[in-house]
C-alpha cells in the first residue's frame, strides 16, 4: 500500500528530451564473455584496492583479486574464471584519459564460481532476519559494493553513519538523466531484489521507513516494485513514491528535498538530517551479496544512441571493454562520432572505446552528430539569468562563471561553488552555449589543488621545524659532551700536576700526594724538634748539673738538622717531579693532526682506494652500468689519498720541533719512571724512619722520667736511647741517599 506522501519541489531544473524509449523497450540481455577483462583497481571513491593475485594465477569467478586499502576503499573480484594475464597500467574510463593500474583477466570460458553462500547459511542462523548488523556491513564491504548511481562511494562506508540517528532510507530510482534506462530496467526485472536490499538496509540503519523515489515516466518500474512490496509483505515500511519528471530530481539532495522537504545544508551530509540515500542498483547488489554471497562483478548498462542499431540494456561483467559491448549492439561509427560514458548531461566523452566497463558505468551513449551536436564555440555571457533560474542548487551560475574565468577562486567559494552538483542544467539553458560546468570543474579542481598544496606546505613546515629542532638538540648535546670531556681532561691535568709519579701508576696518584704531604709534615716536626733541642741545649749550658748532657744534646741537634736537610731535599725532588709531569704528558694522543694519525688516515684512504679500484675493475669486466659511478668514486678516493698523504708529510716537516719536544718529554718520562722504581724503597725507609723516631722519642721520655725520679735504671735507659738514636741516624743516612736520586 502506498502511503500518501506530501511531495515537495526543488527550485530550478529543466525538462530535456527524455530519449528513454529507445532503450527500455526490450528486456535486459546478458553480454557475452569478451576475450579479456580489464579491472581498474580504482573504481570507487577512496584509496585504490591492493592486488592480491599475481600474473599467471588462475582465479575463479567471484574470487577476491584486490583487497581494500584503508577504510574508504573497496575490494575487487574476478568477474569470471580465468587466468591473470597482466597487472599493469592501462587507460581507465576517466575524463582525464590517464592510465592506472588494472588487473587483466583472460577468461577460460568455464565461468566457474568460487564457493559462495548467503550470509544466513554462512552463519548457520535459523532466522535470517536477525543477522547482526556488523556481519551485514562486513559482507557488504567484502563484496566490493560501491554506489552504482554514479559517484561510486563505498557503500559500507556510507552506511557507517556514526552518531547520526537515521529514520529514513531513500532509494533513488529517479534516473532523471536522458537516455539512461539501466535503473528503470533493473526495477522492472529485479524489483524483488531491490525490495530485499531495502529490507537489509533498513535493518542496518535501524530506520523506520523507506521511500523509493521513482519518476513518473517509469510506470512499469513502479508497478513492478509495488508487486514486489506485496510479495515481501513490506507495504507498511517501504513506500514507492512517484515523483514528477524533472531533471535533476535524481540528484541526492534534490531527491531528499522532493521526498521530505528537507534541505541538506551546504557542506553537510544527508545523515545529519537522519536520512541515508542509496541507488536502487546498489540495493539490488546488496541483496545479492547478503542472500547469495555474490560480490559485485556485473552491472546493468544501457547502450544507446543513434549510432548503435540495437539499443538496449545489458547485464555486463565489470571489465568488459566498451568496444565489445558496442559491437554486440551493432555500433556503426561514423565520422566525428564519440562515445559518452554516462548520460548526455553529466557524462564524459571517452578518448577511445578500448576502455572497460566499471562499477559506475550506467550508460554508454553513442549519439550521431545530428542527435547530439558538438558544442558550438562559446559566446559572451549576456547576463540573461536563465542559468540561475535553472540551477537546482539555488546557486548563481553566472557569478560562478565570472569568478572561475577570472580565477577568483575565493569569491567562487564564497558563492558556494562546492554546492554545485555539476548537473549541467545551467549549460543546457545557456543561450551563449558557455561550457559552464567545465568552468566549475576547473575551479573546483584548482581550489582542491590549492588546499592540498596548503596542507603539504603545512606538513613541510612542521617537518622543517622538527628538523631544525633536532639539529639544534644534537648540537647542544654535542656541545655538552665536548664540555664534559674538556672538564674531565682539565681535572686529569690538575691531578697530574700534583703527582708526577701518577703518570705511570695512575692509581697511586693520591698516595703520591700523601707522600709529599707527609714529607712536609715531617719537615715541620723536625724543625719543631730542632727548636726544642736548641732550647734544651741552652738550658743545659746554663745549668752546670746538666753540663754532662750537652754533647748528647749537641749531637742530637746536629742529627735533627741533618734530617731537616734531607727532608727539604726530598720535598724539592718531589716538587720537581710534579712539575715535569704535565710536560711529560707530551703530545696528546687524541690530537687528530698528530703524524701517527695522519699516517693512519693516509693508509686507510689508500686501502679504500685499492678496494674501489678493484671494484671498478670488476665492474668494467662485467660491463656493469655502475662503472661510471664507481669511476667517479675512485677519482674522489684518489684525491682523498693525495690529500691525506700531503697532510701527513706536512705534519712530519712542521713537527720536527714538536718531535724534539716529544723526545725531551720522553726523557723526563724515563726519569720519573726511575723515581717511581725507587719510590717504594724510599717509602719504606721513611716509614722505618718515622717508627724509629717514635721509638727515640719514647726512649727519651722514659729516660727523662727515670732521671726525674732518680732511678738507677737511668744509665741503662741512656744506652738504649743511644742505640735507638744510632739506628735512626743509619736510617736517615739511607733515606737521604735514596731521596737524592
Amino acid at each position: 500500500m502506498t502511503h500518501l506522501i506530501q511531495l515537495h519541489e526543488f527550485d530550478g531544473g529543466i525538462h530535456p528530451p527524455e530519449n528513454k524509449r529507445q532503450s527500455n523497450s526490450r528486456p535486459i540481455r546478458k553480454a557475452s564473455l569478451p576475450s579479456e577483462l580489464v579491472l581498474p583497481l580504482h573504481q570507487h571513491i577512496g584509496a585504490p584496492a591492493n592486488p592480491v593475485v599475481a600474473v599467471g594465477d588462475t582465479v575463479l569467478k567471484g574470487q577476491v583479486i584486490a583487497e581494500p586499502e584503508g577504510f574508504v576503499s573497496a575490494p575487487l573480484h574476478a568477474p569470471t574464471s580465468g587466468k591473470i594475464s597482466a597487472i599493469e597500467a592501462r587507460q581507465v574510463p576517466h575524463a582525464s584519459g590517464l592510465s592506472e593500474t588494472c588487473i587483466v583477466i583472460e577468461p577460460d570460458g568455464e565461468d566457474t564460481w568460487i564457493e559462495h553462500q548467503g550470509l544466513c547459511d554462512a552463519l548457520g542462523l535459523d532466522h535470517c532476519d536477525d543477522i547482526p548488523v556488523d556481519k551485514l556491513l562486513e559482507r557488504i564491504r567484502d563484496c566490493g559494493i560501491a554506489g552504482m548511481g554514479g559517484a561510486g562511494f563505498p557503500t559500507a562506508v556510507k552506511l557507517h553513519t556514526g552518531k547520526h540517528k537515521i529514520d529514513t532510507l531513500i532509494l533513488n530510482g529517479a534516473e532523471c538523466e536522458p537516455y539512461i534506462t539501466a535503473d528503470d530496467m533493473l526495477m522492472r526485472e529485479h524489483a524483488s531484489e531491490v525490495i530485499r536490499g531495502a529490507q537489509i538496509l533498513l535493518q542496518i540503519l535501524g530506520a523506520e521507513r523507506c521511500l523509493i523515489g521513482v519518476e513518473d515516466n517509469k510506470p512499469e518500474a513502479i508497478a513492478a516494485l509495488d508487486d514486489a512490496l506485496v510479495q515481501h509483505n513490506e507495504e507498511h515500511h517501504i513506500d514507492v513514491v512517484t515523483i514528477p519528471t524533472k531533471y535533476p530530481s535524481g540528484g541526492e539532495k534534490q531527491l531528499i528535498q522532493i521526498l521530505t522537504g528537507k534541505e541538506v545544508p551546504s557542506g553537510g551530509i544527508p545523515a545529519s538530517l537522519g536520512i541515508v540515500c542509496q541507488n536502487v542498483g546498489t540495493a539490488a547488489a546488496i541483496a545479492d551479496a547478503v542472500d547469495f554471497g555474490r560480490p559485485l562483478i556485473s552491472r546493468i548498462t544501457t547502450v544507446t544512441g543513434d549510432a548503435v542499431r540495437d539499443k538496449g540494456n545489458w547485464e555486463v561483467l565489470l571489465g568488459t571493454p566498451v568496444s565489445h559491448l558496442l559491437s554486440l549492439s551493432g555500433y556503426r561509427p561514423a565520422k566525428r562520432e564519440r562515445v559518452v560514458m554516462g548520460g548526455p548531461m553529466m557524462g564524459f566523452a571517452l578518448p577511445t572505446t578500448e576502455l572497460p566497463v566499471v562499477k559506475t558505468t550506467n550508460c554508454l551513449l553513442a549519439p550521431t552528430e545530428k542527435e547530439l551536436p558538438t558544442n558550438n564555440p562559446a559566446m559572451a555571457c549576456i547576463r540573461c539569468g536563465l542559468c540561475a533560474e535553472a540551477c537546482p542548487a539555488d546557486l548563481l551560475p553566472q557569478q560562478l562563471y565570472w569568478f572561475s574565468k577570472a580565477q577568483e577562486f575565493d569569491k567562487a567559494e564564497q558563492h558556494n561553488l562546492f554546492d554545485c552538483i555539476e548537473c549541467g542544467a545551467c549549460s543546457y539553458v545557456c543561450p551563449s552555449e558557455i561550457p559552464l560546468v567545465q568552468y566549475y570543474r576547473f575551479s573546483k579542481g584548482a581550489i582542491r589543488e590549492e588546499r592540498a598544496a596548503a596542507e603539504k606546505a603545512e606538513q613541510a613546515r612542521i617537518r622543517y621545524e622538527a628538523r631544525i629542532d633536532r639539529q639544534e638538540r644534537e648540537k647542544a648535546e654535542k656541545e655538552a659532551k665536548r664540555k664534559a670531556r674538556a672538564e674531565a681532561a682539565a681535572k686529569a691535568q690538575s691531578v697530574k700536576k700534583e703527582a708526577p709519579a701518577a703518570k705511570a701508576v695512575p692509581a697511586a696518584e693520591p698516595a703520591a700526594n700523601a707522600d709529599l704531604e707527609k714529607l712536609q709534615k715531617q719537615l715541620a716536626a723536625a724543625q719543631a724538634a730542632v727548636a726544642k733541642t736548641k732550647e734544651k741545649l741552652e738550658a743545659a749550658r746554663e745549668d752546670p748539673e746538666k753540663a754532662d748532657k750537652i754533647p748528647a744534646f749537641e749531637s742530637a741537634l746536629a742529627k735533627t738538622q741533618d734530617k731537616i736537610k734531607t727532608l727539604a731535599k726530598d720535598i724539592a725532588a718531589a716538587k720537581k717531579a710534579a712539575k715535569s709531569a704535565p710536560a711529560a704528558a707530551g703530545p696528546d694522543k687524541g690530537d687528530p693532526n698528530s703524524p701517527e694519525r695522519l699516517q693512519k688516515k693516509w693508509e686507510t684512504a689508500a686501502a679504500r682506494l685499492e678496494t674501489a679500484r678493484k671494484r671498478l675493475a670488476d665492474a668494467e669486466v662485467d660491463g656493469a652500468d655502475t662503472v661510471d659511478a664507481l669511476r667517479a668514486g675512485v677519482e674522489k678516493q684518489e684525491a682523498r689519498v693525495a690529500e691525506a698523504k700531503s697532510a701527513y708529510e706536512a705534519s712530519l716537516n712542521s713537527d720536527a720541533s714538536l718531535k724534539t719536544a716529544v723526545s725531551n718529554n720522553a726523557g723526563t718520562d724515563n726519569t720519573s719512571a726511575e723515581t717511581v722504581a725507587a719510590k717504594p724503597d724510599a717509602e719504606q725507609l721513611q716509614k722505618k724512619l718515622l717508627a724509629q723516631k717514635d721509638r727515640v722519642e719514647k726512649a727519651k721520655e722514659r729516660l727523662e722520667m727515670a732521671r726525674a725520679e732518680g732511678l738507677d735504671s737511668v744509665e741503662a735507659l741512656e744506652k738504649a736511647l743511644n742505640k735507638q738514636l744510632d739506628k735512626l741516624a743509619a736510617f736517615e743516612a739511607q733515606a737521604s741517599t735514596t731521596g737524592e736520586v
Binding site: 559566446m379 573546483k444 659511478a629 667517479a632
Partner: protein, 198 residues
C-alpha cells in the same frame, strides 16, 4: 566639592579596574612568538629551498617582518607576492629574477636507486627529511614529503638524483578551464558557423 571627589574616586577606581583587567588579559592571552612572522610564514610555500637567500621559509618570514623585500621567493611566485603585499599593506613587486624563476609545474626529486652509492649526502641536504636511507644503502625519496626544493641534487657525488614533474593521477587531475571561444553574442553565431565550414 564632594561631587568632584566622587568623580575622582570613581574615575580612579575605574582606571585601576581596567588596568588590572588589561594586565590580566596581556598575561592570560599572551601571543607566543611574533604573530607577523607566523602570518608571513603561513603565506610562504614552505619549499625550504633557500632560493630567497635565507636558510628556509621561516628565516625569510622573519626577515620580511624586519622589512626585507617580499619578491624573493621563486617557488611562491606572483601569487605569494600578491598575498604578502595584501597582508603587509605594501605594493606588490614583480618577482626578483636574481633569485630564480617561478616553475610552472611542481617537481619532486627522484633517486635512480641502482646508481645510488649510499653516501647519505642527500639526506643531510634535505630540509624536510624526505629522503630515506642509510650509509652504504640505497636511498629513496618519500614523494609525498618532497617539496621539490632541488637541494639534494647538487651534493650527490654520482648525480643520481633527478627532478621530475609531479605526476598526476585520476584523483589529482582536474578539468582545465575551457579555452575562451570567440566572444560573440548569439545573433552572430550563424556567420561564425558558415565561416567555420568554409
Amino acid at each position: 566639592m564632594s561631587t568632584i571627589i566622587i568623580a575622582i574616586v570613581v574615575l580612579a577606581s575605574l582606571a585601576a579596574l581596567f588596568g588590572a583587567l588589561l594586565g590580566f588579559a596581556s598575561v592570560r592571552f599572551r601571543v607566543e612568538g611574533n604573530p607577523v612572522v607566523d602570518q608571513v610564514n603561513d603565506l610562504l610555500p614552505q619549499t625550504q629551498c633557500g632560493q630567497c637567500g635565507f636558510p628556509g621559509c621561516k628565516p625569510y618570514a622573519e626577515a620580511i617582518a624586519d622589512g626585507e623585500k617580499i619578491n624573493k621567493c621563486p617557488p611562491g611566485g606572483e601569487s605569494t607576492i600578491q598575498a604578502l603585499a595584501d597582508l603587509l599593506g605594501v605594493e606588490p613587486e614583480p618577482l626578483d629574477a636574481e633569485h630564480g624563476a617561478e616553475k610552472d609545474v611542481p617537481m619532486v626529486a627522484y633517486i635512480r636507486e641502482d646508481e645510488c652509492i649510499g653516501c647519505t649526502k642527500c639526506i643531510q641536504a634535505c630540509p624536510v627529511d624526505a629522503i630515506l636511507g642509510a650509509a652504504k644503502q640505497m636511498h629513496t625519496v618519500i614523494v609525498d614529503e618532497c617539496t621539490g626544493c632541488d637541494l639534494c641534487v647538487e651534493p650527490c657525488p654520482v648525480d643520481c638524483i633527478d627532478m621530475v614533474p609531479q605526476s598526476t593521477d585520476t584523483s589529482s587531475w582536474y578539468w582545465q578551464a575551457p579555452t575562451t571561444g570567440v566572444e560573440l553574442i548569439a545573433t552572430d553565431r550563424r556567420s561564425l558557423k558558415t565561416e567555420a565550414h568554409a
